[in-house]
Amino acid sequence: MHPILILVSQRIALGLLLLFAASVLIFAGTMILPGDVAQSILGQSATPEALANLRAELGLNEPPVTRYFNWLFGAMQGDLGVALTNGQDIADALGRRLGNTLFLAFWAAVIAVPLAIFLGLLAVRYRNRWPDKLISGVTLASISIPEFLIGYLLVYFVAVKLGWFSSVAMINDSMSLGDKLSAIALPVAVLVLVVLAHMMRMTRAAILNVMQSAYIETAELKGLSGFNVIFRHAFPNAISPIVNVVMLNLAYLVVGVVVVEVVFVYPGMGQFLVDHVSKRDVPVVQACGLVFAAVYIGLNMVADIVAILSNPRLRHPK
């Protein structure tokens, strides 16, 4: 078997194992949360019989291990159960919210990733000169300002003063793509500003590290232009650390956008999770946790696999 297949399948197996461990943690974590779901559904005035009935109905009397495996097997088949608070199918509601979140994350990533890498290359090309300092300064500032503040600043200036975009990013299925994009323009802008700095700085650092190599000198002595040296010779050898930080930021775009969603009233996963945590709707919280864990682990697994594939020694063994 090709060694790369072995390595990649190892990564995937490890990822699945990790996801399993995460599911145990999520389940155990929600188990030890204080409070009683039946009590919170029925309220303080519920009779003991009603509580007992509800617990039996919800399966809360089963031993935790049984409940865990019931939940896990359900989840593996796409059945995440029903929300305790409103009886809706969780997979259904979650799916829509996840779709919205991914829509937002996708457009933020499409803009942020190429931009970050391009700015990183540019910073290396003009290192320690004014373009480098300007790029570093601006991206550092954008990452240092809290994202809700950037959000409100954009709302104030772009939405309220200039009136270019709506301050509320409500989208629904009947909107055209153009309308949707216009609606999410501001949250996308905020997210781009937040994730840009990390990726750009990592690109810059990773490439600068490679620029010390002897083969960069070879490239320079071939008479290549500065940008070609960086793009053709340095960049391919810096892919692995860059992809790692890109994936971390993509994961952030999916699982860490709660604040931005709240600021722009965007119907995404983050809001969904926060709502249900406050309602103590345990199955929904568990389902959200599992999806977040899967996204995180999945993206990092992709980063690992790309790192393996980008290594010519592994791709083309002797």
Binding site: E220, L224, N237, H316, K318
Partner: protein, 545 residues
């Protein structure tokens, strides 16, 4: 006569140095160097490290490595002053008119790209040929340079071919654009002697066939004597002597050139082996964890008290692995090690402090074998505390004694490694090993990273110390000249096996086995025409068989 291809007049090159604890200062690296090189001629630039050879070579491409700046003089290539070119013109010069072969091709090739892509890149960049034409050229060069399967060689990645092949591919890379001038910067220094000779012959053939001019930079006079028409000797950034190769080799005028020519003046008569070896290695077979082949196979050698066993072989032959086994860093899968009268545990954890004290090690790279943040005194003092519990004045006195022994003196006690020269660093490492009063010191390529004259000094010092302290050396090296200079007995290693072993006089006397013969005949000799003789001889032999 036509104008010379390359003219360098009164070259001055400076750099900024950052001495520790002092403000940065400008230092002059090269000064007052002038020469001219005609089309199709090969000129050797020779000198020790720091002589400015590479710096002068790169100035022909108007390139300064790191913070190096060309601050004076003129460099004319094909009639125009290249120091006055704009960025665009400069790029047309580099990689087209003048090309460069780096010392370590393994580092100079981009690991992420196929060899062919890199070999023809400059040719395409400067529109010197179409893609198919350039690839055809590259394949012809691969064939000229004796690379295996020239038609498909370029499809491989750098890590898929050997160091010697990569060095030849680097030459192809430099010749592909049909340049007027190639700068060879120590192109064979990183190679084994057996590989070096092939690469050298290949380079020489390629130069002759393409009629290109070349600057050949090396510290090895015997090597440059084989390829160049004329030689310039440099020292400390200034020209010492310049003349035809014949003149420099056979009738050098300057004292310094004579020293370079006659280096390795050590006379060492071999001692007869004693009955009780200090170290006996028996039936050692070893492999690295996670691999499934033996790096060492049934190795048997002895080192006698106060004598030197030289272990010689090319890279990958298992020399350094043997050292790791003896020091206990790599437990062998079979075999035993006897030290003096006692059996040594093959695992490091099973050895007593006394066992550890009696076997010390000196490494190839003195630079990385010392903590850069410790002073010389601390470095040498550490084994004194550790093994003998010396403190205060007793320790200081012993350090001073050791510094005397390595001919450096007490003034160095508070210096940091960064303030020492390469030879001085290696001397400090020797003192550190001696501090433990060992009975055996393993020297792993201790002179390989040093200039010939400096290496000579180190070898003399080691011999003197051996006489005084009665310490035995296991001397690992790939350099046969070093072996001749210091060994009492020799073990020749090839692919993990000892192929020849015995007293020096026997090992270095015929009849030879095939490998030892190849090894011995590959060591460059300092006379003109040596390379042709060896190649012709080998061709005749292979035809005869």
């Amino acid at each position: 006569m036509a104008d010379p291809l390359l003219t360098i007049r009164n070259l001055k090159i400076e750099a900024t140095a950052y001495p520790p604890g002092e403000p940065p200062q400008d230092i002059t690296i090269v000064e007052g160097v002038s020469f001219a090189l005609d089309k199709g001629r090969v000129m050797g630039l020779i000198g020790e490290s720091g002589a400015g050879k590479s710096t002068i070579g790169l100035s022909a491409m108007a390139y300064g490595r790191g913070g190096v700046r060309i601050t004076g003089g003129t460099v004319t290539v094909n009639g125009r002053d290249i120091l006055k070119l704009g960025t665009r013109e400069m790029r047309k010069l580099r990689g087209a008119e003048v090309t460069y072969v780096a010392q370590s091709a393994a580092a100079a090739f981009n690991p992420a790209k196929r060899i062919m892509e890199q070999v023809i890149e400059a040719t395409l960049e400067h529109d010197r040929a179409s893609k198919s034409e350039a690839e055809a050229r590259a394949r012809r060069l691969f064939a000229t340079l004796g690379l295996p399967d020239p038609d498909n060689f370029g499809n491989r990645y750098p890590h898929q071919v050997s160091g010697g092949q990569l060095q030849r591919a680097m030459t192809a890379l430099a010749l592909c654009p049909h340049p007027d001038l190639v700068i060879f910067d120590e192109p064979t220094t990183a190679l084994d002697v057996t590989t070096q000779i092939d690469v050298l012959a290949a380079i020489k053939d390629a130069i002759r066939e393409t009629g290109v001019a070349a600057l050949y930079i090396t510290h090895d006079l015997a090597v440059v004597a084989q390829v160049s028409d004329e030689i310039m000797v440099l020292k400390g950034g200034q020209m010492v002597e310049h003349g035809s190769t014949d003149h420099i080799i056979n009738t050098p005028r300057e004292e310094y050139t004579r020293a370079l020519v006659s280096v390795r003046s050590i006379e060492h008569t071999e001692k007869a082996p004693s009955d009780d070896p200090v170290l006996r290695v028996e039936h050692i077979t070893a492999r690295y964890r996670g691999t499934n082949f033996d790096v060492l196979h049934d190795v048997n050698v002895e080192v006698h008290t106060g004598q030197t066993l030289a272990v010689v072989g090319e890279s990958g032959s298992g020399k350094s692995t043997l050292a790791r086994v003896i020091t206990g860093l790599l437990p062998p899968s079979e075999g035993q090690i006897t030290f003096a009268d006692r059996s040594l545990s093959t695992a490091l954890a099973g050895r007593s402090p006394e066992d550890l004290r009696e076997v010390q090690m000196i490494y190839q790279m003195a630079d990385v074998a010392m903590n850069p943040r410790q002073t010389v005194g601390t470095i040498i003092g550490r084994p004194l505390e550790f093994y003998f519990g010396l403190k205060g004045k007793a320790k200081r006195d012993r350090i001073a004694e050791l510094l005397d022994a390595i001919e450096m003196g007490n003034g160095f006690i508070d210096r940091y490694p960064a303030e020492l020269s390469g030879g001085q660093k290696q001397r400090v490492c020797i003192a550190r090993a001696l501090a433990a009063k060992p009975r055996l010191i393993i020297c792993d390529e201790v002179t390989s990273a040093l200039d010939p004259l400096v290496a000579d000094g180190i070898l003399k010092l080691l011999l003197a110390l051996q006489k005084r302290e009665d310490v035995a050396y296991l001397f690992i090296t790939h350099d046969l000249a070093t072996v001749r200079a210091i060994a009492d007995s020799i073990a020749v290693m090839y692919q993990g096996k000892v192929v020849r072993y015995g007293p020096k006089s026997e090992v270095l006397a015929p009849p030879f086995d095939d490998y030892t013969d190849l090894l011995l005949s590959s060591v460059p000799e300092m006379r003109l025409g040596w390379l042709e003789e060896v190649i012709a001889h080998r061709k005749m032999e292979s035809a005869g068989h």
